[in-house]
């Protein structure tokens, strides 16, 4: 396919548009079985993906599904539909374009299955659901092309693994299927190509011109950044100046809570009444759509947002991106910067606003990394088995399968190319009988093998339950928030734990407004507007990324450079004070500071290993403190340090942190801690051990009448070799436990641990006291405090 048919060329000519070189090349190489396009934002990736489809359908019109487009965002699918429908109509092409997501009506879905459009736009979850229907072979029979948009984002989570299993299935149903991946700039294109290839065949990589380097600077602020905290409130006047000076500005924050607080403060200082909106994942869909529509219409001058706008709709008129708070990861920063100026060959303009004095150092490190084109990222592990378990159950819903052929198909998915047959069999066994050492479920198994050797569901009614539980996004329990009264406006969602902590009259921020908690009605949080009051902090579940190894190294290098002239005076002074009162953390030594504060003993360990690894270090260290009778009470971890508090002072941290002891501790300890339980909860839901959605019980939002922690403990005690425990351990080691980075830290410190006993809080440690996400240690110290608290309560109540 080298040339475009007349309706398309005429349409382009009428607009005096010409194709970018990479778009032409995508067209020329449209016949290749797998092709990965890497192009900067604004490079016309989506058009490059769709042109071959339009060309083929214009030259040879036909009914039935021709191209499947998969995007990580529902909104993106809907937007692409709008953007494709108009040109197709103008070109007069006989092509129907429809989207199918969680928001599509049941009637529409049914019709799509009976009479699929030529181009179907969907999400990985909706595809998994489509593939689980008995008529999947008929729907996908004539499928020619599949386009995976923003594949770099999908590859970062289990959604990508699920999608690649889905593509392997599609390739079986539609032999000759060609796949195209569209990606933003990534650090390792060949790895992404292997991920999306139909193994063992390769996938070619096509690089678009990366365009000019971004114009990225630190924002000059009139006030210096505060000592601690996040949010960047101090910079609001300067940010408003920039908003005024530009057409449209995106103001990115790292967490939803920070975005809310910032937006609220911004609004209070926005005397010029600049139209500014807010957008994040906890807001109700209606709210988000209103903001998106206003943005498209060019009504808004700025949007305060989070990762929810990392991807998605192209807004050509964005000419400035402001990142508030340190970017934890250079690659994500580069992709965010790309949101500004979606015009090809014009530099994106971006500014960094550190939220506090330490983040100044982080921001400078990130700037240097962007200038050096030094992208970071962790290599992807093999495809997770919990996703495979779900895929097996979903496939069984579609009809009987042969285990050998199915295994061969699974290994054609990139992430599962090296999957051992034994692992596949273990997953199949788990799906069939639970895979327990005690063979209890021979009578009640979920899958059974028929006389002809094929596997099928024992009870076809189970398929409904399995379909309702498809997907790999596991959320914490959330409650809807809406305005009080009949048909009150939906505002968004809060975590159940946050809702449970509210009392009537409490105020919090939601969608930029202060609202008062009135009560709960059928598991919906009802609120009224209360603009006059100080808000109580809303704790949303903001994604916390670990600062990458590359960035941490750069930060340590700046701290120890001895030349801080690039830093603002306030930060210089702070670092100088740290050097005077204590010492600077170094790359090849481990600094541990020990000091009393407010009646508790504290220990601050500067490992610079990233949030997850620092958290693990906290868990291991507190466990060893507990064993030594040092009564730890809890800890909080950041990307750089872990702060532990307890009843007794630690004067030499060496014995707590020796390499052998930590490794050994990991073995024994790994099993029983909260991080593992959290991983288990996710894994158990994905693999179908516990159900998220039961028919007719959606409303309650919670079916497990007992916690998954109990399941985990029971399994560990009675069946320690169980597949779910193995998956949980692998998962945690890679993700939440991140022991790899502890090993890396142990390597570089080589046993050089310095414990400094100080009389008060050292300067660098001060901000740690304001960190959220404290982890309690359930040990003797806590039991002692609990007993004391109970005693006081009894006395106070006159009961003792």
């Amino acid at each position: 396919m080298n040339s475009l048919p007349p309706p398309i060329t005429d349409w382009f000519a009428a607009r005096s548009w010409s194709l970018h070189p990479h778009q032409t090349e995508m067209l020329a190489r449209a016949g290749e079985p797998a092709l990965l396009l890497i192009a900067p934002t604004g490079g016309g990736k989506t058009l490059a993906g769709f042109l071959p489809t339009l060309a083929e359908l214009a030259s040879a019109p036909r009914p039935g599904l021709h191209t499947l487009y998969i995007s990580p965002l529902k909104a993106l699918a809907a937007d692409i539909r709008r953007n494709l429908t108009a040109p197709i109509a103008e070109m007069g092409l006989p092509i129907r374009v429809e989207d199918r997501t969680g928001d599509t009506t049941t009637t529409q879905r049914k019709r799509q299955r009976a009479d699929p459009p030529q181009i179907l736009l969907t999400t990985p979850e909706s595809l998994a659901l489509l593939l689980s229907y008995e008529d999947a072979p008929r729907i996908f029979d004539g499928l020619q092309r599949v386009i995976v948009d923003e594949i770099h984002a999908l590859a970062e989570s289990k959604r990508g693994d699920q999608l690649m299993l889905g593509l392997a299935r599609l390739a079986t149903l539609a032999p000759g299927l060609r796949r195209v991946g569209l990606s933003a700039t990534v650090e390792d294109p060949p790895a992404l190509a292997r991920f999306m290839a139909s193994a063992p065949q390769p996938c070619a990589v096509l690089h678009a011109d990366p365009g000019p380097d971004p114009d990225i600077t630190m924002m000059r602020t009139t006030a210096p950044p505060p000592w601690s905290g996040g949010g960047g409130r101090y910079a609001i006047p300067d940010i408003l100046d920039q908003v005024r000076a530009h057409q449209t500005t995106l103001i990115f924050h790292n967490t939803r809570a920070q975005a809310e607080i910032f937006f609220h403060d911004l609004w209070l200082q926005n005397t010029g009444d600049l139209p500014i909106g807010i957008h994040h994942g906890s807001l109700a869909r209606e709210q988000r759509e209103r903001v998106e529509a206003a943005m498209v219409a060019g009504v808004l001058r700025a949007i305060v947002c989070t990762g929810s706008l990392d991807l998605g709709i192209d807004w050509g008129n964005v000419d400035l991106v402001i990142q508030v708070g340190a970017p934890k990861n250079v690659k994500r920063l580069v992709q965010r910067i790309g949101r500004a100026n979606h015009r090809y060959n014009a530099p994106s303009k971006a500014m960094l606003v550190p939220a506090n004095r330490f983040e100044v150092v982080e921001c400078i490190a990130a700037l240097q990394a962007v200038q050096a084109h030094d992208l970071d990222g962790d290599p992807r592990g093999p495809g997770p088995l919990d996703v495979l378990c779900q895929h097996i159950l979903a496939t069984a819903c579609a009809g009987p399968f042969d285990a050998g052929a199915f295994y061969a198909e699974v290994t054609r998915a990139g992430p599962y190319a090296a999957l051992p047959r034994a692992d596949f069999d273990a997953c199949l066994e788990f799906c069939a009988t639970g895979g327990y050492a005690l063979r209890a479920y021979d009578r009640w198994r979920r899958l059974m093998q028929r006389g002809d050797g094929l596997w099928q569901l024992r009870d076809p009614r189970t398929s409904r339950m399995i379909r309702m539980n498809l997907g790999t996004i596991v959320d914490t329990e959330k409650l809807k928030v809406r305005m009080k009264g009949r048909g009150g406006t939906p505002l968004g969602e809060v975590e159940e734990a946050f809702a449970a902590s509210l009392s009537q009259g409490d105020t919090f921020l939601m969608g930029g407004q202060v609202v008062r908690f009135d009560g709960l009605r059928e598991l919906t949080v009802e609120v009224t507007r209360d603009p006059g009051r100080e808000p109580k902090l809303a704790v949303f579940d903001g994604t916390k990324f670990a600062t990458s190894t590359q960035l941490s190294d750069r930060i340590l290098a700046i701290l120890n450079s001895g030349d801080w002239s690039a830093l603002p005076p306030a930060t210089q002074g702070w670092l100088a004070l740290q050097a005077e009162v204590s010492v600077m953390p170094q790359r090849n030594r481990l600094l541990v500071e020990s000091f009393p504060y407010e009646g508790r003993e504290h220990l601050c360990i500067w490992g610079f290993a990233g949030r997850n690894a620092q958290q693990t270090l906290g868990l291991l260290a507190t466990k060893r403190m507990e064993e030594r009778g040092l009564h730890p009470l809890g800890f909080v971890a950041t990307d750089y340090a872990v702060l532990i508090w307890g009843l007794d002072a630690v004067l030499d941290a060496g014995p707590l942190l020796d390499a052998a002891g930590l490794r050994e501790g990991l073995e024994g300890w790994l099993a029983g801690n909260a991080v593992m339980k959290r991983s288990f909860r996710t894994t158990a839901q994905i693999a179908g051990l516990i159900e998220r959605n039961l028919p007719g019980q959606r409303k309650s939002g919670r079916q497990a009448t007992f916690s998954t922690d109990i399941l985990y403990d029971t399994l560990r005690r009675h069946d320690p070799g169980h597949l779910m425990l193995r998956i949980t351990a692998e998962e945690a080691m890679r993700g939440l436990v991140d022991f790899g980075r502890i090993e890396e830290m142990l390597d570089r410190i080589g046993g050089r641990i310095d414990t400094r006993r100080l009389e008060r809080i050292p300067p660098l440690a001060a901000p740690l006291f304001l960190e959220m996400g404290r982890v309690p240690v359930q040990g003797a110290g806590r039991e002692r405090l609990l007993a004391e608290a109970a005693e006081r309560l009894m006395v106070a109540a006159g009961l003792a």
């Binding site: 327990y436 209890a440 979920r446 902590s501 009448t705 007992f706 029971t714 169980h722 007993a787």
Partner: protein
């Protein structure tokens, strides 16, 4: 180390043990509630998920430990001992284990809403049982006379200590009655601020937390005022308990 909390109910000296059982030393009587044996099997039988089928063994192990420590002459299982009547058809090894625990002592099964009919495992099967000043039944009766011992609600207390929220199964005890925590491994809980528990328990009620040690504190309640506590409304999941 305290193994329990001592108190007097209707003149009987009782011990609410940290493990979640009730011990009446004078009568040699051990009482446990809501064992829910066979829960995972029942869920699988009904086409639900295949939960780890070890909760019966786990519950029996803990019950065995209590019986071995106390050597009671009477054991009362306060209802919902089995997750349903079919779940009472235990696998042979578990049935034998239970038979060994039952041997040489009186064993009383009180009927619960999950197991409303007799089970074929020996022992007496009763709707309720009076012993001295105490009456043992599955579900508390509002306005019952002093000395009522019941289960059913799986009470758990949620308290905040050192800025951390913590929730544990608990006994609820006031001058007239007590409610036992669920002893079964796969059992959820109902917070003490639930209206049902609020209405049953008198103003002087205490909660005795189970866990490493028995900790007694005033029963956590809804603060006075017109507000519906969110914690309370949130945990209220009708029909999903007991």
């Amino acid at each position: 180390m305290k193994t329990g909390f001592e108190f007097v109910l209707a003149g009987a000296r009782l011990l609410a043990r940290a493990a979640g059982t009730l011990w009446w030393a004078e009568a040699g009587l051990l009482c446990v509630s809501d064992l829910h044996l066979g829960k995972s099997e029942r869920i699988a039988r009904r086409g639900g998920t295949l939960l780890p089928p070890y909760e019966t063994v786990d519950t029996l192990e803990r019950l065995d430990t209590e019986i071995a420590a106390l050597d009671p002459s009477v054991v009362i299982c306060l209802g919902d001992s089995f997750d349903d009547l079919r779940a009472a058809e235990l696998p042979e090894s578990e049935a034998l284990w239970l038979a060994r625990l039952m041997a040489g002592r009186r064993w009383i099964w009180i009927a619960g809403n999950h197991d409303p009919g007799p089970v074929g495992l020996g022992g007496a099967y009763l709707a309720e049982w009076a012993e001295g000043p105490l009456v043992f039944r599955h579900i508390a009766v509002p306005g019952a006379g002093p000395g009522e011992v019941s289960g059913h609600y799986h009470p758990k207390a949620r308290i905040t200590a050192q800025g951390q929220s913590l929730s544990r199964p608990c006994f609820l005890i006031d001058g007239a009655r007590m409610i036992l925590p669920a002893f079964g491994t796969y059992t959820g809980g109902l917070v003490t601020t639930d209206p049902a528990l609020e209405a049953l328990m008198g103003p002087d009620a205490v909660a005795v937390l189970t866990g490493p040690r028995a900790i007694c504190l005033p029963m956590p309640r809804v603060p006075p005022g017109p507000a519906i506590s969110p914690a309370n409304a949130l945990r209220q999941r009708p029909g999903r308990r007991g």
